[in-house]
Amino acid sequence: MGKVLLGRYIPGSSLVHRMDSRSKLILSFFFIVIIFLANNWESYLLLFIVTITSILTARVNFSFFIKGVRPLIWLILFTVLLQIFFSSGGTVFWKWGPFTLSYYGIVNGIYVFCRFVLIIFMSTLLTLTTAPLEIADALEKLMMPLKRIKVPVYEISLMLSIALRFVPTLMDETTKIMNAQRSRGVNFGEGNIMQQIKAVVPLLVPLFVSSFNRAEDLATAMEARGYHGGEGRTKYRVHYWEIRDTLGCTFFVVVFIILLFIRQW
């Protein structure tokens, strides 16, 4: 379990992989925002072309994206069905009590489905091509303006990176405790819901206690290594904004402008 890859990051050397995490984060957010501007089939087609192009540039197997959609499929279907049966307008094909099946409803349902898929594909692309730690770094950089209003940006980003670093350690520990409790006769994942919830208690309590002990040890070690707050520290990890990042941003701005032209006003 300790060897589990955090997030779904797949190392690679494609253009998308080598882009700065800041530009990737900004562009993903930007893309998700402009998805909501699309309102006709031409604009959705454009966004799909952009997404597919980005995925092809990243040279990541397409199956990972399908896997990204799968856990959310029920939520998506539910929302789509709501859209189809509860929005009205245009030709009505069928009506039963509060449910109407209309032309407008079907189109809206398809659009909602497209939105979901686009958002999931783009955010999956971000997490597949960017190491979690780099995302944490990007967040730190992008939160910098918040320092003016006394947000402890350095501390937040250190907390994030330590949290990421300890995920495998705590997973190992969980496995160990589970095995220890199993050997004492605890059944995990069996019985009714109440029994399953009860089985989690002997897992959570030791895990909680040991996490606190670890936190205390780590705090002592950090202090002994001279950590006294985020101010005045230098940085070992650096990121450079390169031509490809500027190019990437330009590409998305162009997409945005085209979208403004072809969407329905």
């Binding site: 350690t169 002990n213 950090m222 290594r225 230098t234 940085k235 070992y236």
Partner: protein, 278 residues
């Protein structure tokens, strides 16, 4: 030789505990010395290390590091002369991977990035971990993590290294690797080493051994002298080294054994000699 650490009339008490941990405690440690502090659990060994590093503040008395008195104002400066390696390899690994963990202390000390790159590489090469520079901690063994922790200490170029039971969670191989590096640092760089340990073999590598019992210094001598008192060690909750136990057994069988402490190798030689004489 000059005193690197001087502890004068030290008293200390944990706020949540009754009774003093230390009461009027005195100790001097010379520059370049390798000192082992041994004692049972709760004898105050780790507390002493934390007091020296300024992680705890004494209630009375003074601690001088390299001639400077430790005060709340200069604690960060003094601490930069001391590197500490703790017991649990996982709980002192801050960075996401090996090189970043070594850089953590340098980042805190606001060392420039160019310098950092040089020093990280240098210190990782010292502990033979350079080829693992980009590895995450989950992919390292306990001994490798402790070597990384040691590299983090070396990178900061301290004058004193404190090992707070740093080898107690390692397998014999990992322990040996860590101690070999320590010995080299002690020999070549004249670093002062304080090793707090349960492990008699580790303690026997020191030049001087201090035995603590309930915050009192009950013995301060060369390792050979300290360990030759086998039964006394048991009394203060320590297990005597294997060679001492063997000596005790031989003595009870009516053999005449040497008074002084023998290392395992010394024991083998003595046994050979004894055997060939008969």
């Amino acid at each position: 030789m000059v005193d690197m650490i001087e502890i004068k009339n030290l008293s200390f008490k944990y706020s949540q505990q009754d009774g003093q941990t230390f009461n009027d405690f005195n100790l001097k440690i010379k520059q370049g010395e390798w000192l082992a502090i041994i004692g049972h659990n709760g004898s105050g060994k780790s507390t002493l290390a934390r007091l020296i590093d300024g992680l705890l503040a004494p209630s009375e008395g003074a601690i001088f590091i390299d001639g400077i008195k430790l005060t709340p104002e200069n604690v960060w400066d003094v601490r930069s002369k001391i590197g500490m390696v703790f017991q649990n390899p996982d709980n002192q690994f801050v960075g996401a991977n090996v090189e970043e963990d070594v850089a953590f202390g340098l980042e805190n000390a606001a060392v420039s990035r160019e310098q950092m790159l040089v020093r990280v590489k240098e210190s990782l090469q010292r502990v033979n971990m350079w080829e693992f520079a980009s590895h995450e901690p989950a992919r390292l063994s306990g001994g490798q993590k402790q070597r990384v922790a040691l590299a983090g200490v070396i990178a900061l170029r301290p004058k004193i290294i404190i090992l707070d039971e740093a080898t107690s969670m390692l397998d014999p191989e990992g322990r040996k690797a860590v101690l070999d590096i320590i010995r080299e640092l002690n020999h070549k760089e004249k670093l002062t080493v304080i090793s707090i340990t349960h492990d008699i073999d580790e303690a026997s590598k020191a030049q001087r051994v201090v035995v603590l019992d309930d915050g009192k210094l009950i013995q301060d001598d060369k390792p050979e002298k300290v360990f030759s008192r086998g039964s006394d060690l048991v009394k203060i909750g320590l297990e005597p080294p294997f060679s001492e136990k063997l000596k005790g057994e031989l003595e009870s069988l009516g053999l005449v054994v040497p008074e002084d402490y023998l290392t395992e190798e010394g024991m083998i030689n003595w046994l050979w000699e004894l055997f060939s004489r008969q």
